[in-house]
Every structure is written in C-alpha cells, then in structure tokens.
C-alpha cells in the first residue's frame, strides 16, 4: 500500500521491493540488454542479428503480444482488431528500421503521452503484476522479428 501524493516515496519503496525480490530468488531478472539511441532511432539490432519477418507477423497477430488490441493492419484473417491506434498498413514506408525499433522499445520517445506501451523496458513502472515484474513485455528476439515484419509493410 502506498501513501497518497508521495510519488518519490512510492518509487523508493518499489525499488526496495524489486531489490529484495532479486535478492530473495538469487537470480538476475531477465532485464533488457543495453542499446544505443542515435537520433530518432536505434540503428543496431538488439540481438546483433536480423529478425525473422514471418515470426514477426505471427507475433503481431497474437493477442498476448497486445499489438492487435489497439492496432489494425493488413490482416484479413482476423476480425478482432483494435482502432485505438493507426492502421499498420504502410508502416514500412513511413518509418525506417531504426525508427521502428525505437518505437517498439520505447514509444514514449516519440510522444511522451502515448498510450502505446514501451515493449522493451522494465523500470519506472507502477504495480506490475507478480508474473511480469522485472521483465520487458517482449524479448530482444521478439522485437527484432516484429521490426523485420513491420519493415515489409510497404504499399
């Protein structure tokens, strides 16, 4: 339980809890690997290797990845698409691979108020559910697969 209107204390408490969890399990959380932002993108692959666009397409369509909850796109096989966010059709024309990678890693870099989650971030979040704490939403490999797929969305 947090004291109201005291975000600094909340954050300190959250850090303490996170630290004690790592200590308790004795294991390193699967935190994100470091990456380098250059201009408005992340030029290098997070894994050092190119992603797999076919796997990326399947990931974007999987509800557990969450993209399709908000976005729609050129996916005739599914009726259940969201409209809280732009249609992904043509995303590969509008954005470079480097920009797409940063968008997935941390969309708030482009728009601080965005509702799009940062898929490769594990800190600065509030009350993350036990099963998800300390982990980014997607792994580096999943991000690269999705980036590879989005880059193919050209009209």
């Amino acid at each position: 339980m947090w004291p109201p209107r005291s975000s600094r204390r909340t954050r300190a408490a959250a850090a303490l809890i996170a630290a004690s969890l790592v200590f308790a399990t004795g294991a390193q959380a699967e935190g994100p690997v470091p990456y380098r932002i250059a201009g408005d993108g992340i030029p290098e692959s997070l894994t050092g290797a190119p992603g797999d666009a076919t796997r990326g397409r399947a990931l974007v369509l999987a509800r557990t990845t969450t993209c399709i909850l908000c976005h729609s796109g050129p996916f005739p096989e599914t009726r259940f698409q969201g409209d809280l966010a732009p249609d992904l059709t043509g995303a590969g024309n509008r954005w470079s691979v480097s920009q797409l990678r940063l968008r997935l890693v941390d969309a708030s870099h482009f728009n601080p108020e965005t509702i799009m989650p940062s898929y490769y971030r594990a800190d600065g979040l509030v009350r993350v559910g036990r099963n998800f704490a300390g982990k980014p939403i997607l792994s580096a490999t999943e991000i690269e697969d999705i980036v590879a797929f989005l880059a193919t969305l050209r009209d």
Binding site: P4, T66, L69, L84, P117, V126, R127, G129, I137
Partner: protein, 259 residues
C-alpha cells in the same frame, strides 16, 4: 500509517484537487448498456430472460432468513426492503461515521451481519453476498446515482480519482486512457465503454455468472498486467466511490447484463 488515515491527513494538508475537471460532462455520460448490441439489451430489459433476476430472487429469500447467533433476519431490522432499501444503493459507497471511511454495499451487508446478526462475514463474490447485494441494489433500479455527494467523502473521491488517472502495470495504462479518452473505440474488436458502474452486481456473459464491480476492476487491472488490489481494499473502495460519483445522475440498472 494506515491508508485511510493517510487520506484524512492529506485532506488536511492539501486542498482537494478540483473535482470533475476533464471529465465526461453530465449530458454525455452513457451507461455500458448503450454500447451493447440489441440481443444483450433485450436480455437485460426482460426480467424473465435476465439471469441476474435469479440472484435477486435468492437475495429476497435471504432477506427474511434468520442468521447468526442473534437469530435475526435483515427484515427484522429493516422491514420490507421494497420501501426501506429504496434508493440506498444509489448512494453507495457511503461514509461510515464510526469507521471514519467509506464502505461499499457488500461491506455494509457484512457489517450488519457482524454487528446485528452476530454472523460470520460472507466471502466476496460468494453467491449469498452477490444475491443480497443484487436484491438490495435492485430496489434502486431507475434511481439516479448520487454517491459521493456527502462532503465527508470528498478526500476519498479525490483519492479514487488519483488511482483512476494513474498509469500502472507492465502495459503502463491508466483507467482514464481507455474509459475517458477512448470510449466508443474498439479494443481487439470489443467496444470500450465509459466504465459507468450503473448495473452492479451484474451478469456478464463472459463470466457466465453475476459479479461485483470489484471483480470487474480487478480484471481491468490484470488486463494491464498490474497487481490487482484485494477485494475490500481501501484502493478498490475509493475507486468504486470515484466511479459512482463520476456516474452522477445516471440511473441504476441492477441487475444489468453485459457482454
């Protein structure tokens, strides 16, 4: 320091934020009912097809059933619910003077069980508690919601509002991101409503049973991959209070039906 005391103190130290700022204006407030398809509406409209009415009937039977070591029924103190419980649920959560904080209708029922019936509390989401609260809330069907009007509730409403506005969970989303900014849009094909708590407890087809407002709030929290608060926690109570005050003027629908 307890959560409730912290709120009381914060109210003393800081001026309560302007309420209702940036909110859905009264004339634009819409129940979840208006977002539903004709089949689900028809199910709610016709008492003989509304599955929630079975719980209301169960609750009516429990109302007159003696319970606890005091061997008293609700009806022994409150008489005929059709008159004594009229409009009551439209004012809940309400401020409890002796506790010094708001309590939900479910909590009020369990307080009556403890204090006046000397009976054990009914577990959250148990059939009996849902039935009793559905029966009591049904006596307010058609009444305009007025919860939160009591000036003593002001700091608690403000606290609930803070929670509504705060991003949380691995997906880092706040209630307001969906229910103030994106109602009428679709999340994976399902319409997002304004989150007006007009019909609780209500029958959700997805649940295949009646459920409380707290159950709904907990599933939205789990949805953004946040750690959901416990049933009856001060956080859920203040959120519930804020939602009810945000729905001011909308008519109660208990038992509603939702997809």
């Amino acid at each position: 320091m307890s959560f409730w005391r912290a709120i009381a103190l914060a109210a003393l130290c800081a001026a309560a934020p302007a309420l209702l700022a940036g909110e859905i204006p009264p004339e634009a407030r819409r129940s979840g009912y208006s977002f539903m398809g004709p089949d689900t509406r028809a199910m709610q409209d016709d008492d003989t097809s509304n599955p929630g009415m079975l719980f209301v009937l169960d609750g009516e039977a429990l109302w007159t059933k003696k319970a606890g070591s005091a061997d008293k029924a609700c009806a022994d103190c409150h008489g005929d619910a059709r008159s004594s419980m009229k409009g009551v649920a439209a004012r809940y959560p309400a401020f409890d003077k002796s506790l010094g904080h708001p309590v939900t209708l479910d909590q009020r029922i369990n307080l009556c069980r403890a204090d006046h019936q000397q009976a054990t509390p009914l577990p959250y989401e148990s059939r009996d508690l849902l039935a009793l609260s559905a029966f009591v809330a049904h006596q307010s069907r058609g009444f305009a919601i007025t919860a939160g009007d009591d000036p003593q509730l002001k700091p608690f409403v403000a606290q609930g509002r803070d929670l509504f506005m705060r991003r949380e969970g691995q997906l880092n989303l706040a209630c307001t991101n969906c229910h103030d900014d994106n109602f009428d849009k679709r999340l994976a094909g399902a319409p997002i409503t304004q989150a007006q708590p007009t019909g609780y407890p209500l029958y959700r087809l997805e649940w295949q049973t009646l459920g409380s407002l707290e159950r709904r709030l907990r599933s939205c929290m789990t949805g953004v991959r946040a750690q959901a608060y416990d049933y009856g926690s001060p956080e859920l109570v203040t959120l519930e209070l804020y939602l009810m005050s945000r729905a001011r003027g909308l008519p109660m629908e208990t038992p509603a039906v939702r997809p």
